[in-house]
């Protein structure tokens, strides 16, 4: 592996970690609302969250460009309020990855929240626990394997994000050129096969490692709970 390869891997990991870390609270909140909430428009919210999963990624990227560009309604607010810009920046790559990973994360977390036995929560309440304590000591720990699974799935998905990223923040080496984008560039260059092979190999290894780690974690956490948890 060359120094350039390492830089690409480093950028990819940074983008994915920020994407998952940043949207984890939002993903959990949405999963909670979908699992437990009763309100009109739930189906619509569900569909909106899942939209990036079925929309052509180039459309998602274009919509991010419109909304989060310097002149966009959201982008201009971020720039003036927080000094945060997304266009042609690695932060934009993280945002695109987060939007694409969100449906997978919400899905995994929602299933795990729905699987929490409500009778344990009722039991805790008879023992005097407030709603917040029930959430902290019963619901969250019991749902944790699914939360971890969702985060790792989101991370793996972020590592592979291509279409929305290249549309939104372009393909700038050292700034927005993550692994898939670097592979795409190398494919355009005559004699780039060696680089493609190396980078593709790294991609496979990283994704595989993420999935194996999450499976092991989920199993370890589920061992005491008398139920099986699987990511795969």
């Amino acid at each position: 592996m060359t120094a350039e390869d390492w830089a690409i891997v480093h950028l990819s990991l940074k983008v994915s970690a920020v994407a998952v870390g940043g949207c984890l609270p939002l993903a959990f909140a949405l999963a909670w609302v979908l699992a437990r909430g009763k309100f009109a428009g739930k189906v619509l919210l569900d569909a909106l969250i899942h939209l990036p999963l079925v929309l052509p990624p180039v459309v998602t990227g274009w919509m991010l460009l419109i909304a989060f560009g310097p002149q966009g309604p959201v982008g201009s607010w971020f720039e003036s309020a927080l000094g945060l810009t997304f266009m042609f920046r690695w932060t934009g790559a993280a945002l695109a990855a987060a939007v694409m990973a969100l449906p997978l994360m919400v899905r995994a977390m929602r299933l795990s929240i729905e699987a929490v036995d409500l009778r344990f929560e009722a039991t805790a309440m008879t023992l005097g626990a407030s709603r917040w304590r029930v959430f902290r000591t019963i619901t969250l720990p019991l749902a944790l394997p699914g939360v971890v699974a969702g985060a790792v799935l989101g991370f793996a998905r972020s590592l592979g994000e291509f279409g929305a990223t290249i549309t939104f923040v372009s393909n700038i080496p050292g700034e927005t050129q993550t692994l898939p984008l670097a592979i795409y560039s190398a494919l355009q260059v005559p004699g780039g096969e060696a680089a493609v092979t190396r980078l593709a190999g790294i991609s496979v290894a990283l994704s595989l490692a993420a999935l194996v780690v999450s499976e092991v974690l989920a199993r370890r956490m589920a061992r005491h709970m008398g139920k099986s948890a699987h990511v795969l």
Binding site: T126, S130, G226
Partner: protein
């Protein structure tokens, strides 16, 4: 009077209705499966809201539909022992026992462990316990939550004969030594005859 209960609640097509007054000691709700015995316990615990009625335990009004009184589950301080024990699977026995405990409680962890003979189980995970052990831990957890009364929902139903005897003796000692009002649900006539001072058919 330890229990003065008169409640009704519609659940789907069935109407759960129950009214009785009982003295201290162990009162059994006796009847076939599906009669709504567990629903009555849930209403007394505060987990299920009656459509109308009145629930008074040991002189305190917990629910009254005419005055709009509805004490929260947490504040009712029912020691609820469920049929399946319902120990929290992600906590060791010690943490299960201490979940609802307070410093000014009825008894300490050591006292409860001694009373129930579960001192050697404190570091075990619930999934490694036998049915009888799990049920005794569940009783301990309810006792340590400093309850004002106990609700027991077929605590012997999931146990084999030897374990039933062991848990039954524990319940008799609870009844005789702690002096807490106990509302006990069962569909087993022999069990109810042996334990209860007062039987309510439902």
């Amino acid at each position: 009077m330890s229990f003065e209960i008169s409640v009704s609640r519609r659940l789907g097509d069935t109407l759960v209705q129950c009214a009785f007054v009982a003295d201290a000691g162990l009162t059994a709700l006796f009847g076939p499966s599906g009669a709504g015995k567990t629903s009555v316990l849930n209403m007394v615990a505060g987990l299920l809201k009656p459509d109308e009625g009145r629930i008074v335990v040991a002189g305190e009004v917990l629910f009254d539909s005419t005055s709009g009184t509805d004490i929260s589950v947490q504040a009712r301080r029912a020691g609820y022992v469920f049929q399946d024990g319902r120990l929290f699977p992600h906590m060791r026995v010690r943490d299960n026992l201490l979940f609802g405990s307070s410093d000014d409680g009825l008894m300490s962890l050591a006292d409860a462990a001694e009373f129930l003979g579960i001192g050697h189980l404190l570091d075990r995970w619930p999934r490694t316990l036998s049915g009888g052990e799990a049920q005794r831990v569940a009783i301990g957890r309810a006792m340590l939550s400093n309850p004002r009364f106990l609700l027991m929902d077929e605590p012997l139903a999931a146990l084999d004969r030897a374990r039933r005897e062991e848990v039954m003796r524990t319940i008799e000692r609870l009844r005789d030594e702690l002096g807490l009002p106990i509302l006990y649900v069962s569909h087993d006539r022999a069990e109810v005859k042996r334990l209860a001072g007062h039987i309510v058919e439902i």
